[in-house]
């Protein structure tokens, strides 16, 4: 399988005033459009695990467990021939559903039919211990040589049957081993809890308020997973010796702060995980660097951003971009704000304003909630994030969109609040040519 190439397009104001130190750049990373190599041989390529919550609450209402069965079957249907797959049932412990004896099967018409039969037998009953589910997924993936490892985790409730520390330990053991998309069905689960899983495991988190929507969602997730071609891609950031990295964030399609996830290669080089990539996929990263000040007229390379994949011959660099800094005494140049940097700075603030506002609302701090959600309304409008604006309007009454004057709604549906929370990190992109 040939490795895809990546392009890294850096957009920033490279001019700094005399004594200036902060360089802020948007790096757009795009994998090339090479079509997926079909029918990966067993023994290489992809592995998929579907983890289905089978706790007692999944029976209330009964449609939850029946729709979860249907959704799992729909996801199994789109697993490509030759891909390793398994289904795990989760309660206060975890047990294999298919293959029944554990391990993973290679997808074929026969194994998919067997798996769907096994899934049909899923019954609800028991508690919720998400850490144990992740542990079994980890062991199960370990039974194959596949490198593209992805899981879908479905739950409807809180992680009641293990401690937060147990869950955290399980998450950290799985980090870098597989990626995981999380879905909460209904409104009795905890957004913050599932977000911990999805963030660490480089996946998404979302609410599926109505169990009837599960099948379409699972199928879509599985199709996306099937499109991935290259696993364990890292964003490598080189900086000069006397420079500090202030932050590294993914800012599109969603905001994910990667700053704390640096794996140092050398004092000047660090790798940040980005998970798996499909052909033609494009993401934006916001990188902030503090460099040693230079004199007017000096040019410095503030950072070199590259994409690195592990290969049998060692890490392979698949494209790079340069973040330059030039000191100037021309204020017209140095004070210019790059529109895309400004846009994503606003989008990151939008996500935190929503999360802080909802948290304050939950704590009964109406003043903070009104202020933060009002700020979010302004930011959503400024950046043209209409989806988020629509979700915000279900939680607050907007009096004046421009100034962010809002009133908290007295009655808010749980699912609306959770949808706003889970989708707060979704960003809209601005393209360079429109900037």
């Amino acid at each position: 399988m040939t490795q895809p190439a990546f392009t890294v397009d850096v957009d920033h104001n490279q001019y700094l005033p005399e004594g200036g130190r902060d360089v802020s750049a948007i790096a757009t990373v795009t994998s090339d459009g090479t079509p997926a190599v079909t029918a990966a041989e067993p023994g290489v390529g992809s592995a998929e695990i579907i983890i289905v919550d089978c706790s007692g609450s999944m029976d209330v209402p009964h449609t939850k467990i029946s729709q979860a069965r249907a959704a799992t079957a729909a996801a199994v249907d789109v697993v490509r021939d030759g891909v390793w797959f398994a289904v795990i049932a989760g309660t206060s412990f975890a047990k294999p559903v298919y293959p029944p004896a554990g391990g993973m099967a290679v997808a074929s018409p026969q194994t998919r039919a067997d798996a769907k039969r096994a899934v049909n037998g899923l019954r609800a009953g028991g508690g919720t211990a998400i850490g144990k589910w992740l542990q079994l997924a980890y062991q199960t993936f370990g039974s194959t040589p596949a490198t593209l490892r992805h899981a879908i985790l479905l739950t409807d409730g809180r992680n009641q049957h293990e401690t937060p520390e147990e869950l955290a330990a399980a998450i950290s053991a799985c980090e870098g081993n597989f990626t995981c998309d999380c879905r909460g069905v209904g409104t009795d689960w905890e957004v913050g809890e599932l977000r911990k899983v999805s963030t660490a495991l480089l996946g998404t988190v979302d609410i599926v308020p109505d169990p009837a929507g599960l099948a379409a969602d699972f199928e879509a997730m599985m199709r996306t997973a099937m499109s991935k071609q290259v696993a364990d891609v890292a964003l490598r950031v080189w900086t000069p010796q006397q420079a500090d990295i202030r932050f590294v964030k993914q800012v599109a399609p969603t905001v994910e702060d990667l700053s704390g996830r640096r794996t140092p290669g050398s004092p000047q080089v660090g790798d940040y995980p980005t998970g798996a990539w499909g052909p033609g996929e494009s993401r934006d990263y916001h990188v902030g660097i503090r460099v040693a000040p230079g004199f007017v007229g000096q040019e410095m390379l503030a950072a070199r951003i590259s994409l690195v994949v592990s290969s049998p011959g060692g890490p392979q660099v698949l494209g790079q971009g340069l973040v330059r800094a030039i000191w100037t005494d021309d204020e017209a140049l140095s004070t210019k704000i790059n529109p895309r940097v400004a846009h994503y700075t606003g989008q990151a603030e939008l996500a935190s304003a929503i999360q802080e506002g909802l948290e304050a609302r939950k704590q009964g701090d109406e003043g903070t909630a009104t202020a933060r959600l009002g700020r979010a309304v302004v930011l959503a409008k400024e950046s043209g994030n209409e989806d988020t604006a629509r979700l915000l309007a279900k939680v607050v009454d907007v009096v004046d969109e421009a100034t962010g004057t809002v009133r908290l709604k007295k009655k808010v549906a749980d699912e609306d609040e959770m949808a706003l929370d889970t989708r707060s990190t979704k960003t809209v992109r601005v393209r360079k040519e429109h900037a």
Partner: protein, 370 residues
């Protein structure tokens, strides 16, 4: 036997194919190789192999330089070849330097010599990229390259140098029109000088300058009063040579707001130079330039001296002809490259706020010991 410009005074073998070529030949009759090609300050796209800052610091670890020219330790851009270019063709020599405040060298120079039946010819072109235009470094290089080629061909054919200068600057302008793109129109200033036996032809657009620096003025007893730096030169025909040595003088008149204000008597030279608009040029080469109206002047100096063609990175710091003569002469009479180094160092010591280019041609041609 080797002549002053490095070429044999007799028939000599072509450096490419070994066939004998004539003294006055521009090209080898056998293989077509150009025998004395013009030299342009493009440099190669290369850069220094080691970071000058980190190698000077004993505490800094050793590090290489990336293929794109950055120090792998401190990240600083290491000097590129074009940042400092020295060209010595014997008959004339020049230096183009980035200065201290700009991140790249947007000046360009092109030098050429020719041996004709009428005697030797030295050609110098200096262009200064307009910083507010896109790709000013490409602009200056393209203009200098196009112009020197035209001037050299004309010199080899023995053409009239005033006409050739007009043609060369128009070709340079055409080259810049070809560079215009979606990002705008690259632009630069222009100054050319052709020195043949007894005659100097200068041509300019913008504020790059040509000076006559008379031997003897360096002692400070030149007849030029210090307060009259921009003595206008008659465009077209120059004054006939007089018996006394020609004093140091500015041979060009800037196309700049400052020069226009001074010319109309609205401002004094000193006030004009101090005004923020002093460096606003009123004419330039580029696709966005209004009608091109290049200036051509002919000058026949009596007595020995040196022709200086330079960018404003030099004359910003010292514009009086006798002052410049004081720095460059008499060294330039015998060693134009060393004298150019003196001028460039002076401008850098004074602040180096702009790119600096200085080309010196000792006159009469080829009398100095090379």
């Amino acid at each position: 036997v080797t002549a002053i410009d490095g070429r044999s005074t007799e028939d000599a073998p072509c450096p490419n194919c070994g066939q004998l070529v004539g003294v006055w030949d521009g090209y080898c009759e056998a293989c077509g190789t150009e025998l004395a090609p013009p030299v342009v300050s493009s440099g190669t796209p290369g850069h220094m192999a080691q970071c000058p800052v980190c190698t000077a610091d004993p505490d800094s670890p050793a590090g290489g330089v990336s293929p794109d020219g950055y120090c792998e330790v401190c990240g600083r851009k290491v000097p590129a070849d074009r940042d400092h270019v020295e060209v010595d063709l014997g008959l004339l020599a020049g230096i183009s330097d980035r200065g201290l405040r700009h991140s790249r060298n947007e000046d360009a120079m092109a030098l050429a010599t020719s041996r004709t039946p009428d005697g030797q010819v030295a050609i110098a072109v200096v262009c200064d990229g307009v910083s507010t235009s896109p790709r000013p470094d490409s602009a200056s290089l393209a203009a200098a390259q196009a112009a020197v080629r035209e001037l050299l061909t004309a010199a080899r054919l023995g053409d009239d140098m005033e006409e050739a200068s007009q043609a060369a600057v128009r070709l340079a302008s055409a080259a810049l029109r070809g560079l215009a793109g979606p990002d705008g129109a690259p632009a630069c200033t222009y100054a050319s000088a052709v020195v043949s036996q007894g005659c100097i032809t200068v041509c300019w657009v913008g504020d790059s300058r040509a000076y006559w620096l008379a031997a003897g003025d360096e002692a400070g007893h030149g007849p030029v009063e210090p307060d009259a730096p921009t003595r206008p030169v008659t465009e077209g025909r120059a004054a006939t040579a007089s018996a006394s040595p020609t004093p140091s003088a500015l041979l060009t008149r800037d196309d700049s707001l400052a020069a226009e204000l001074v010319a109309t008597g609205l401002l004094s030279e000193e006030d004009a130079m101090a005004s923020p608009q002093a460096h606003v040029i009123t004419q330039w080469l580029g696709a966005d330039s209004p009608d091109l109206n290049p200036h051509v002047a002919r000058f026949e100096p009596t007595g020995p001296g040196v022709l200086l063609v330079c960018s404003d990175g030099l004359w910003n710091y010292r514009s009086e002809p006798p002052d410049l003569a004081g720095m460059a002469v008499p060294k330039a009479l015998t060693s134009p490259l060393d004298a150019a180094a003196v001028l460039v160092k002076f401008a850098n010591d004074a602040g180096g706020r702009d790119n600096i280019t200085a080309v010196l041609v000792p006159v009469p041609l080829g009398t100095h010991d090379v």
